[in-house]
Amino acid sequence: MPLSKIRANAPEKSEDLDFKPTGDLVAFVTFTQRKEGTKYVIAGSIDAPDKTMAIIYAKEHYGQDQECVSLWLFPKKAIAGTHADHPTSNEEGPVRGFTIFSQKQSGDLHIEAGSVEACHSEEALAKAKTQLENAANLHSIWVVDAEYISSTEEGEMIWRNTDQTYRLARGYSKAVRTKWEAIRAAREVDEYQAEDLKESF
């Protein structure tokens, strides 16, 4: 019982798709800055055809699931680091800036950790290791050629300034509480809500 004609008329087909796979878009890694002056922390990835679209997508995706003031993005392939899936290169180029990101332990988030100047990523990683405190104990270090890092513009609005409480759990707490109290005694509501959203209720 679909509600729209388009849905009602979607043909049911069982044969294979009659065109070939297109392959994937480019994976971009996204970092967000929660407040001005704080470090950029990894938010996740976004797949997009190019950096312009990547910023638009990331603003909509990561900029709307958490308040933030700025975004950084770079192609995943631009990462060189301490792990085999992000190999470094010693192909010499001009001396340029590399941004460092480090992850304390496996499972932790990568966080912005300064920058170095180098002529290739191997040199940048070596310099990052001497520059970072406690480098030997870090689980992972990334260096990214700053040329590949795109960011939102200064002062650009990401988290919208309109009322967005409708998309946050806390936007409902007052209404929910009032409605429960019309049904249950306040003490019972307290007991019930004490369990609320604590990991798994």
Partner: protein, 340 residues
């Protein structure tokens, strides 16, 4: 929303894993060290995590379909905004989970195609219909509630990229659940017509939400790979018990009644009787209830649920219609750095 309770791990005994590496891997998992994509892991673990993340991603994007349909019919502007944001979140969860899967070695395009052609599955619960606004309230209260419960324990798993994704997703699931609770409360504090609509939706969704956690566990589930490797950390039955203990008393307090129902092929209730087994067992502290119809569960998994064909047809249509866009985008794509 969603969960991955039904994804098994196929251990191919022809693949001989290095016993030393395997022991090291197990020790890491036991010590609570998180596994990252570039760490050594057994083949069956890599495949199992890929299947689990892919199934979860499929469920997120299919799960958006029944709710997306209701955006234009939301009863107020605020509900419309919330539902739009919720559907956007679910599709976003899909994009994050496809990324986790892509990093384990399968392209997104292949995953989308396998979903459409039925080679891979999505969560059973999205094969049920949502004929009224009451269903939208129930989905967000019960199914997103069940999803938080499940995903909260998955966030305690061993695979780093999946765990990080669960933590991020759960912040949004909290909003889905809370807005669902608000909608159910609104309907149950409303007119008789609203209450009836809510009760009817509850009758349709109570059993799918119990089945959400998957079939009964095998008796040795804790020794089997999914739990031994902390791909999941709590058994299906334990999660279901927690869910009923949380939701049964809340539903009763709201004035909802529990029914054992018969449904037709369209997933609509044709007859119902009160669930006379529903009670709190004072000795165990757990709620007891009439079991779901597990035959129905397996029938729906095999593709014969009320909405299986409809969901896939819509997904396929949008994939086919979007083909030229993807082609145009990919052929014009720029700024891929030289292999670093």
């Amino acid at each position: 929303m969603s969960g991955s309770a039904n994804v098994g791990v196929h251990v191919d005994h022809n693949i001989q894993e290095d016993p030393e590496k395997l022991a090291e891997f197990q020790a890491k998992v036991d010590d609570g060290v998180l596994i990252e994509v570039d760490d050594w892991m057994p083949c069956a673990y890599r495949n199992g995590m890929l299947r689990m993340a892919e199934h979860h991603a499929n469920s997120e994007i299919i799960g958006a379909l029944p709710e997306g349909e209701w955006i234009t019919r939301a009863p107020s502007l605020r509900r419309k905004l919330a539902l739009t944001a919720k559907v956007q979140d679910e599709v976003g969860h899909g994009q994050m989970l496809y990324r986790v899967s892509q990093d384990l070695g399968k392209t997104r395009d292949d995953m989308l195609r396998d979903l459409i052609t039925g080679k891979t599955k999505y969560h059973n619960v999205f094969n049920y219909p949502a004929p009224t606004w009451g269903d939208i309230a129930m989905i967000q209260w019960l199914i997103d509630g069940a999803a938080i419960m499940n995903q909260g324990t998955l966030a305690d798993g061993a695979y780093g990229p999946y765990v990080r994704t669960m933590r991020r997703i759960n912040m949004e699931e909290a909003f889905h659940y809370k807005s669902g609770e608000d909608m159910v409360l609104t309907l149950m504090s409303g007119t008789q017509k609203q209450k009836d609509m809510c009760q009817d939706a509850f009758d349709r969704w109570w059993y799918p939400s119990l089945m959400f956690f998957g079939p009964h566990d095998k008796p040795n589930c804790e020794q089997l790979p999914p739990m031994r490797w902390r791909m999941k950390t709590v058994s299906n039955d334990d999660l279901r018990t927690r869910f009923v203990n949380r939701f049964a008393p809340a539903a009763l307090a709201l004035g909802l009644k529990f029914h054992v129902v018969e449904k037709n092929e369209q997933g609509l209730v044709t007859s119902k009787r009160p669930d006379d087994k529903l009670r709190l067992n004072e000795d165990t502290g757990n709620w007891e209830y009439t079991e779901p119809d597990w035959e129905e569960f397996f029938r729906v998994i095999r593709g014969h649920g009320p909405c299986n064909a409809q969901r896939l047809a819509l997904r396929r249509m949008s994939y086919e219609q979007g083909h030229w866009v993807r082609k145009a985008i990919l052929e014009g794509s720029t700024l891929v750095p030289p292999a670093a």
